[in-house]
Amino acid sequence: MSHVPELAELDAFYEAELRPWLMEFEKKRRLYLAIAAGGILLAALPIAGLIWLGWQEYVLFVSFVTFVAAIAPLVFLGKKIEKELLARICGKLDFALDPKAGAMSIQPFSSLSLVPSYDTCSLDNAIRGKIDEVPFELCESHLQERRRNSKGRTYYVTVFQGLVGSAQFPKRFHGTTIVRRDGGFLASLFSSGKGERVKLEDPDFEKRFDVFSDDQVEARYLLTPGFMERVKRLDDLSDGAARLAFEGGRLLFAIGGGDRFTVSLFKNMGEIAHFRRMMADFALIFGIVRELNLAAKTRL
């Protein structure tokens, strides 16, 4: 995390406070992992009986209950560690954490087509704070779409999982400008009712993104050649998962890439990998503000 000094400074905090605290969970983790492994084996028995010994189908229910009971302690432990680790790191960075993300809404991101259409939405771990005096807020989001298989059964598919949020933008603007992933020729013809396509001069940027705006001049005022370079750097940092929009004086962003702020219970709690993984997610938050130079004072 050398490119984010604030996070590099947390290494000492990890060694002094986080590692000893994480190690307190190691015994419990091993025990729950053994219970889960044993439970999964037990859950497999009724299935084997069903296949080879002709047991009745209701044993599948027994198998299911056994499986859930076996892995539940491990899952709950994992959630507890994630929540507390995140709270401790946020506290150290002076960020406010709301695990339930009560004040956040997916609606602005959805209406700007920064996230795909969905049927169910869950938001959690809202983080608010300031980086280089730039106020920001973001949260984790998990969007699913309802589908039906050939037998008419309903199932859900994840259509987006990642961070959604907004940050104050240094320039004044009044319209709406959206920077979406390039969706090919057909997608570029449709703007989801948010203005006209904006053709920009940077061929690499044009290859990666489609830009739509209700004000052609304002879109270019926001997306200067320098800012386009920064958006590409952020895109690289987020492994090509970044989408942006400018609305209401703020920069809105949606960055996919899966579940964030997670802890794997298949590794020893003393390993620094748990901390490193969470730091990588925080580095992305700093990256949004710093790569996009949101603290700049210029209005050029």
């Binding site: 320039k171 053709k199 001069e201 001049v217 879109a219 270019r220 200067t224 210029t298 209005r299 050029l300």
Partner: protein, 195 residues
Amino acid sequence: MSEMGILLLVLLAGAGLAYLWYTKIIARRNTALEALSSIDVQLRKRHDLIPNLVAMAKRFMTHERELLDRLTEQRAKAAEPYSRNDPRAIERHLADEQALQSSLVRVLAVAENYPDLKSDRTVMEVQAGLEEVEGHIAAARRFYNAAVTDLNNSVQIFPGNIIAGWAKVEPMPYFELEETAMRAPVDVGALMDKP
């Protein structure tokens, strides 16, 4: 199908294509004119800020009266009305704006030598306004030049050149910055803050 029928079909197809090309040329000319209006809106904002700057500068920059008078003259010249349907008039108008911007840069550069002027509250407000306007002018110029490229391509490439000649649509001039030092937008803040 008879030879006459085939000929008629070919002529119809040709007329259809010519009409499509014609509509494309007219649409692109309208976009270029819309972009020119966007530039004028921003340039007018710049014109509105200059009198305040000149009035304040005259109080402090007593030895630079000639420079300030030239800026005022060039502002008046750039603000003169012009025919938006005449590419040569547009070119002259844009050249006047370039000259005005050169003078503005010069005045701001000289203003570095007057600390009292730099720290004046009104000048600081004008400076902030100019900075924002310069950002919008740069954006409007990019929009205009992109629209002009599209228009010029469609009126200079065959058969567009024939259709454009018939429709009396001419290529439009680019809004370019001639001086190398002026290729970047005027960073008024940086100029005024130089030690």
